[in-house]
Amino acid sequence: MTVEPGAILSESVLQKIEAEAGKYPTRRAAVKSALRYAQAEHGWINEDVVSAVAEVLNLERIEVFEVATFYDMFYTRPVGRFPVRVCTNVSCLLRGADGIMDSLCERLDVEAGETTADGRFTVFPAECLGACGGAPMMSVADDYHENLSAEDLDAILERYR
């Protein structure tokens, strides 16, 4: 299946992919960035995105698809506009991550891995996000929120609309 990349990816995404590809001796090296740019516009990576990225970077579709499925930050199914990742690894566990996870799911009325009814958030239990000095912590979209207590959650979530 070939697609016309311009029909799937915006001009701005295509330009950013070219800029990234220019850094490396191979176009393939730009694949993670390309998927990231495309995902930022589409919300998730569907088959058309995979095909378009493959076309742009002169790759086989499987070479793009295997990258899209290998890395946690790529979503190959629809997710909320603001993915929430609650670290549940050791340092956060020792400082109450379970309680944060439970309160968050209760407030948003979801189970871990589910998306809120309004499509704003998907809650993921996460592996260590490298902010153990601020445990317990979570990320919402690109932002880290550290030293959490259950009482903070409403105010934080309010910022993402």
Binding site: F70, D72, M73, T88, S91, G133
Partner: protein, 424 residues
């Protein structure tokens, strides 16, 4: 007793306003070393010798002597070579490189320029874990400033020397912190470790000779070149030069990064971090990130925090990621969580790791749920022993060491959860 003080070499001094800017970095001597090298065309060998005699060892976990690693690169000038910075910090308990990138990005750039020059690389890549958005932004802003100031690019200061530097963001995969997995990922592939040999110094990024160093390692280089190797070596102890950033987390009053001389006694580090929370007793410490063997309280309290000191205690310095656990900690729960981590992060390439991590996790989970059997404890050890040393990369060892050490020191906690034992 004299107060225990931080000595900041890789982190900027405390209380400095916007320490991540070029102006601020310059104020504390930043880029003097790089400009001197550009001006004098310092022989490459001289820089490598300086790093060798500083005693700097890799801060990413393995502790390999940095100068020696740089010297493995082919000396003949032909063909492209690369310097790669490993900022894919993902080992549970580790959060030092995040702060170096956020607060001192120019020192990483200068370190990469110096190391790149020393090995004859004109291009560098900093691979930053995908979740580190703010650190990546800071690093990108610093790159723009450095280019603007003529510190990166072609024919720098009319020396004929070129050095260009790019960042690449990861996308969420622990395994990409392994240097050959990182290179695969940098090339746009799945992050599956490569079989060695060939080593990266022969066949690295894009098939070219490459040196991969950790962020903290590279950030240590500018002050070493500026102040001399003896200055750095004297800060540390025999066999471990310089300062180390210890990331202290878990049950302490003041979790955070503390940059202190190598070889600080653990008890002093614990004081710096405010002591154990709520005045509780210390139970155990994982001193180098979740993969290294756990050390019981009595042993760690007598231990110094350097490569040799922790090896004597049966553990390892790793990345200096110190996870502190107090007397209320359930060691079975902690091991279950660690085992789950390696289970989900195994890249799936080697059978012992791909299958064994799942067996370990499921057995520990079963024990904690109260459905464990007498045989499970020996089976855990036997599975761990059969993963260790039988995989392409060190993730296999990282899986085995926690299981072996938790069972060695805290076997009674596991036994207490097995119903047949309880009745006996």
């Amino acid at each position: 007793m004299s107060p225990i003080c931080e000595i900041r070499v890789c982190l900027p001094p405390e209380g400095v306003d916007s320490p991540w800017t070029l102006a601020s970095y310059r104020e504390r001597g930043g880029y003097q070393a790089w400009e001197r090298v550009l001006r004098n065309q310092t022989p490459r060998e001289e820089i490598i010798e300086t790093i060798k005699s500083s005693g700097l060892r890799g801060r990413g976990g393995a502790g390999f002597p940095t100068g020696l690693k740089l010297s493995f690169m082919p000396r003949d000038g032909v063909g492209q070579k690369y310097i790669v910075c490993n900022s894919d910090e993902s080992e549970p308990g580790t959060f030092k490189d995040r702060d170096i990138l956020r607060f001192n990005p120019h020192q990483v750039i200068e370190g990469m320029a110096l190391a790149g020059y020393a090995i004859g690389a004109t291009v560098g890549f900093n691979y930053i874990r995908g979740e580190y958005y703010e650190p990546w932004q800071r690093f990108e802003a610093a790159l723009a400033e450095a280019r603007e100031a003529g510190l990166l690019g072609d024919d720098l200061m009319e020396s004929g020397i070129a050095f260009e530097l790019h960042s690449q963001r990861g996308a969420g995969a622990y395994i990409c912190g392994e240097e050959t997995a990182l290179l695969e990922s940098l090339e746009g592939k799945k992050g599956q470790p490569r079989f060695k040999p060939p080593f990266p110094a022969q066949v690295g990024a894009f098939g070219k000779p490459t040196t991969v160093n950790n962020t903290e390692t590279l950030a240590s280089i500018p002050p070493i070149v500026r102040n001399g190797p003896d200055w750095f070596a004297k800060i540390g102890v025999e066999n471990s030069g310089g300062t180390k950033i210890y990331s202290v987390s878990g049950h302490v009053n003041r979790p955070g990064n503390y940059e202190v001389p190598m070889g600080i006694p653990f008890r002093d580090l614990l004081v710096l971090a405010g002591g154990v929370q709520e005045g509780r007793a210390l139970k155990a410490v994982i001193p180098g990130g979740s993969s290294v063997p756990v050390v019981p309280a009595d042993t760690i309290m007598e231990c110094t925090m350097d490569y040799d000191g922790l090896a004597q205690a049966g553990s390892a310095l790793g990345a200096g990621s110190v996870i502190v656990m107090d007397e209320t900690t359930c060691m079975v729960e902690v091991l279950e969580r660690i085992s789950y981590f390696y289970f989900v992060e195994s890249c799936g390439q080697c059978t012992p790791c791909r299958e064994g991590t799942g067996w370990l996790y499921r057995m520990i989970k079963r024990i904690r749920s109260g459905a464990g059997t007498d045989e499970d404890l020996d089976r855990l050890k036997s599975v761990a022993d059969r993963i260790e040393g039988r995989t392409i990369c060190a993730l296999g060892d990282a899986v085995a060491w926690p299981v072996q050490s938790f069972l060695k020191h805290f076997r009674h906690e596991f036994e207490a959860m097995i119903p047949s034992r309880e009745a006996a």
